[in-house]
Symmetry: C2
Subunit: 192 residues, 2 copies
């Protein structure tokens, strides 16, 4: 059975070793930030940088694995119908909106949604750092300049993960309008 | 007065707001990993990912600023005679050497050297995550594939930082032979 993550919100999904998590973009052009920690040792949290190092690539897809800051394998990507995701950008945050937009208005964010969802399981905010940004499309210029482009995901695109240890997985429907081609939409997921 | 960081080792440098830190590669082709935390709130630690986001670039140089996971400005780069540094790779670690080399031999690492240096100031290992890798040269292929190349730094090249708040700065002479064109050398620094 599929569950829905409302637009600009997030959930925490406990996942046992061997269980699978399928994340769907049913509307197209919608990003979902994924963060995870070892269920029994929250200081063993997802590291985008260890992950890109051990996979020798910024572009994760089928067959690649997600690593923790302690270099443990957390998840394996079993299937991927889209092929374009991001390992560079941190989750959007209230401070990011304030720095980028230059005002102090409140704005929902993936960082806040991940922190709140994981706080119910006693994961401290200080561990919520880097994310695997499913369906996010970031262009890297040869000069190193970065540009957020519209996601390449079409309605129905999905990615399938397998947990390689017992995990707490934070998952969002990204709150940043620009990242999602102007409109923040829901995300669906299924535990298998 | 200049101080030296022996090959394959690290130090912790307390730096007050406004103080400057100059890091020299006196031998050429030698990387130095930099990590820092707010002196009074260690959970407010350097984030390579927030840094690349707010600077819109993977390539930091003069005028760019280093940010924390809480989006605070930690340091500003005032001068840079080299121009090629890395924000992608995590600090080399014992587990990295084991995973990459496939054996269980001990090897010194930037991660261990940063953790040990900062532990004297009660910074927990779980906060030592991403680093600014001074003089490191990582090539990003248009496909996203990553390749560690020899540093572009020549003997005498330097980078000058200004602390934007009171900090504890971890600084290493990188332990990874491949990253440093086959030979791990010392690094020099000066507090101004």
């Amino acid at each position: 059975m599929r569950s829905s993550i409302q637009a600009q919100s997030g959930v925490c999904i406990p996942l046992s070793k061997g269980q699978k998590l399928k994340v769907f973009d049913m509307h197209g052009e919608q990003v979902s930030d994924l963060f995870c920690v070892d269920k029994y040792d929250h200081s063993n949290y997802f590291s985008a940088n260890r992950t890109l190092d051990y996979n020798d690539s910024l572009m994760l897809t089928k067959g690649h694995q997600l690593y923790s800051n302690s270099s443990d394998v957390l998840m394996t990507i079993l299937e991927d119908s889209c092929g374009t995701h991001d390992l560079l950008m941190p989750p959007c945050s209230l401070k990011m909106f304030q720095i980028v937009a230059g005002d102090n208005q409140y704005h929902p964010s993936c960082h806040e949604n991940l922190v709140k969802s994981l706080a119910d399981h006693d994961v401290p905010e200080s561990f919520v750092s880097t994310t695997f940004n499913i369906f996010m499309n970031v262009f890297v210029d040869p000069s190193g300049k970065l540009e957020i482009k519209s996601p390449k995901s079409k309605p129905g695109d999905y990615i399938l993960f397998q947990a390689e240890r017992d995990l707490l997985v934070g998952l969002t429907a990204c709150s940043h309008e620009q990242t999602n081609n102007g409109r923040c939409k829901p995300i669906e997921y299924q535990i298998m």
